[in-house]
């Protein structure tokens, strides 16, 4: 019974493509079409373009014609459609984000018209907690070798990590999506991604930072920079390969500015996390521990010269 339900849902997805182009037809039976995991574009769209899936509004109006009722954003089933994924699909999407390939857009290949919010939400939550926990662990490990370092649970860092990661994972895709919508007129062939797809691939692209942050526990500085650079390269490559089909029809200037802005923001996030949550240990060792220090959180990197009293 579950299989039939899945097929029915896929039917709607392809129907939305058809309906967006020719609003007056009804959907056809799927019995003579390819299995749902095949490429949607080949079976459905002779023009070879994905213009049908441009706006969320057209998808929703197409569903309206199909279902005779619109799942409004105030209903629970509207949000349930964003969580309609299986374990295997989530794992497949994570694997796809870890190994970006040129020419394979994450959205086309792995999302295939079914973006989900489960992945982005829980990857961001995991990353926020892992950042705070491993950042705290580095202080613990440092204290083992040097008992003068004062250990504290630093619980406020969880809040900081959470807010930073979630703001990045939602506001940057929002800005990107808005910009791409604005530039939509320049493109002939390919419509931009929906907001949900943008959030989705940004969220999945953050996955690789989770093992990287855990590996940052190793207190060897050049190794930390190596892991960080590797993670940033893979993650940014995934973003660039996903955005490339969209921006390549735009002018070179806009394309290069957009892609470099995306990579730069990603790099800023990675470096910001590294500096805020993982202080280089030798400098921390020199941090003054007497009482009249300014009341800032312990371990913030302050490259001040050593005070005379600690000489």
């Amino acid at each position: 019974m579950a299989a039939a339900d899945e097929l029915a849902f896929h039917e709607f997805e392809e129907a939305t493509n058809l309906l967006a182009e020719t609003p007056n037809v009804t959907t056809v039976s799927r019995s003579d079409q390819r299995p749902p995991e095949g490429h949607v574009a080949v079976a459905v769209d002779p023009g070879g373009s994905y213009g049908a899936e441009d706006e969320v509004e057209s998808d929703k109006t197409a569903l309206l014609q199909e279902q005779q009722q619109q799942p409004g954003f105030w209903t629970f089933s509207y949000y349930q459609s964003f969580f309609d994924v299986d374990t295997s699909q989530v794992l497949d999407r994570i694997k796809g984000s870890l190994l970006p390939r040129p020419g394979h857009s994450f959205v086309r290949h792995h999302l295939r018209n079914r973006p989900d919010l489960y992945g982005p939400f829980w990857i961001c939550a995991t990353l926020a907690f892992v950042l705070a926990i491993t950042g705290n662990l580095t202080v613990v490990l440092a204290q083992r070798t040097d008992p003068s370092i004062h250990y504290s649970p630093q619980f406020h860092k969880v809040t900081v990590a959470g807010i930073t990661i979630y703001c990045y994972a939602w506001l940057v895709p929002l800005a990107l999506w808005a910009f791409l919508q604005w530039r939509k007129g320049v493109r002939e062939r390919m419509g931009p991604y929906t907001f949900l797809e943008t959030v989705c691939f940004y969220g999945y692209s953050l996955f690789i930072f989770i093992p990287t942050v855990v590996l940052w526990l190793i207190p060897v500085p050049w190794l930390q920079w190596l892991f960080g650079a590797l993670a940033l390269a893979l993650s940014a490559a995934g973003l660039v390969f996903t955005l490339w089909p969209i921006v390549r029809e735009d002018t070179r200037l806009v394309a290069s500015v957009l892609l470099s802005a995306v990579v730069l923001l990603h790099a800023l996030l990675a470096m910001g996390c590294k500096f805020y949550f993982f202080q280089p240990l030798p400098l921390e060792h020199m941090a003054p521990t007497h009482q009249n220090t300014p009341p800032h959180p312990h371990g913030v990197l302050t490259p001040t010269p050593p005070r005379p009293t600690t000489a």
Partner: protein
Amino acid sequence: MAEAAESPGDPRTTSPRPLMRDLKAVGKKFMHVLYPRKSNTLLRDWDLWGPLVLCVTLALMLQRGSADNENDGGPQFAEVFVIIWFGAVTITLNSKLLGGNISFFQSLCVLGYCILPLTVALLVCRLVLLAKPGPINFIVRLFVVIVMFAWSIVASTAFLADSQPPNRKALAIYPVFLFYFVISWMILTFAP
């Protein structure tokens, strides 16, 4: 229900039976958490008293005695409270959005009651911390927290896993794992 209809004004006939009944129900659910078997008791007669008591106990015990520099400290009472309740609500919403057929309050009830092993772990940790600090102290605490963490996960999985379709079980269980992991971390890093 007949007990609730007793007249409240007469001190001789007003026996504390509703209270005892509720306490017994809470106690029975505690036993079900400690010895998890496939049973429906937690789900059928859900209540939120047990989770509330556990949450307040946990939050109170995680408070440190001294008024440290605000940025230096462990979680505040409000932070623990918010993490537990907000976390439980988020997990419940996630489970329902994935298509699970458990009700909102039943899920909150299960998640709240399954904090019991971790509360016991915190009690043990506080007792262990009275002894001399050192690596053995830490190893004992680590061992206790790990065992209780596993116990919490097993207990909550026994109740929650059946409500999800089989191809999404892992998606629904992972947030529970993360939730208890964060609580275990708060317990392990507690230092008076």
